[in-house]
Subunit: 270 residues, 2 copies
């Protein structure tokens, strides 16, 4: 803080550090408190999804107690999908959610796993939900892991900045431990989320044509199950192209038969 | 939180848990935020040394967001000496202080060492300083260890509740590591490989019909790529059933058009 005040502070920018994504934060004070925590633990990149009271908000800068650079550089997005589009690994901090089949890990495992991936050059993000509601189930389809802070189940309501604090602290320990050794990779990196979403939307559109999502009321949970199971595969860009080819191949000819059936119906005057 | 609201909450009292001691806290809001953190991590005993604005303070209860028991039971003392009088081991969280020759340990070492001592029946306390000034050198004579949170030295100004949060979190991990504590898993186990192979063979048979594997010489490597990418998802049995349903849905109707095309060809005598 002192360094900043005296004007020679220059935040340490690194592609290897995770960005912090706040989904629909309500109070500007909490956004500011998150920025302060980011300053404490050396994180710089803040993304805001649809902040309730708009952005920027003066109160955030007040609460940041000098850690203004995450706020100055904060990017605002309309949806979690957009905020995670260029990320390759997304860790969502939330209470256990039985509706989503993603690996549940601790903050320590998140930092350990994430630092490994960051050293391979992957772009990582830490996603946090709104103050009262946390992350919605449908937001978790943009995540690869669920990070659960081991709170006392009898009083599990964590303040937003406190949740960021714990996860950022564990990352800090990893960053400080960072050995010089390079990670060897035997795999291409996972694609950015936007490519994965492209595959999902392609697949789901074809499944809509098939009447797969029946009854309609179950569509959201069915989509969630499909997406979260495939998220776990961390597909590369090449693999995503291959799987899009699979979807196309499987549906080939179907358009023709459907068109023909429609035509026959029309001819019969149905 | 829910348990509390419904009235049957009973804080878990244990002689083995450390008390939290705040030395001359300034803002009641921060005391309340500390209580909330204590609730999150299962701590119950709060001691206040000369709170600047007196005690009790309504704002503390508001900020505690339901974790009122540390506040309800808080004891007020005039000095650190009095507040630590009955303790056997005191850990003071502060930046490194060269004027005091005490062992400097991390929050993790504090929790590990402290839990060991608590299990021996020793009474432990975690001492934190005032918001702006931290712990004074003369207060440290009541401590056995200095606990230093590994913040970025370029922005080291930690919020009081955030400091308590980190240390209490590390204690929580130690408490949970105690025999009997369990971290529950979110996920069903991955299916046996035979179920996965069933899905693969189903998919590949349909792709053969589509002419997807072209040229034929590339079929083995294409199959390998599909299988290995999906292996990484560690699908459960239920998910495998769902994905088989996807394959069936996508290919639906195709058999009909292929049969019709074959028939037309035959009729044309091709």
């Amino acid at each position: 803080m002192d360094a900043r005040a005296s004007g020679f502070y220059k935040p340490h920018m690194s592609e290897n550090l995770p960005c912090i994504i706040l989904d629909r934060p309500q109070l500007a004070e909490n956004i500011g408190a998150v920025a302060r925590v980011m300053g404490n633990f050396g994180l710089t990149e803040l993304r805001l999804v649809a902040p309730r009271d708009g952005w920027p908000q003066e109160k955030a800068w007040t609460m940041a107690a000098g850690a203004q650079w995450p706020l100055d550089g904060a990017m605002v997005y309309a949806t979690v999908e957009e905020a995670t589009a260029d990320l390759q690994v997304v860790y969502a901090t939330t209470a256990r959610n039985r509706e989503v089949n993603l690996p549940v890990i601790t903050p320590r495992e998140c930092a350990s796993d994430g630092m490994g991936k960051a050293r391979e050059g992957l772009k990582t993000g830490l996603l946090f939900g709104a103050e009262r509601t946390g992350l919605e189930t449908h937001d978790l389809i943009h995540a690869h892991y669920i990070v659960t802070i081991p709170v006392d189940p009898r009083f599990s309501s964590l303040n937003l900045a406190q949740a960021v604090n714990i996860v950022a602290y564990e990352w800090r320990l990893q960053i400080m431990d960072a050995p010089g050794a390079e990670f060897t990779k035997n795999q291409d990196p996972p694609a950015e989320m936007k490519h994965l979403v492209g595959l999902y939307e392609h697949l789901e559109a074809e499944l809509d044509v098939s009447g797969f999502f029946f009854p309609e009321a179950k569509r959201p949970s069915m989509v969630r199950n499909l997406r979260s199971s495939l998220n776990r595969a961390s597909l590369t860009e090449q693999e995503i192209r291959t799987w899009r080819g699979v979807v196309t191949a499987l549906t080939k000819g179907r358009g023709r038969v459907l068109a023909r059936l429609a035509k026959e119906k029309a001819e019969k005057g149905e």
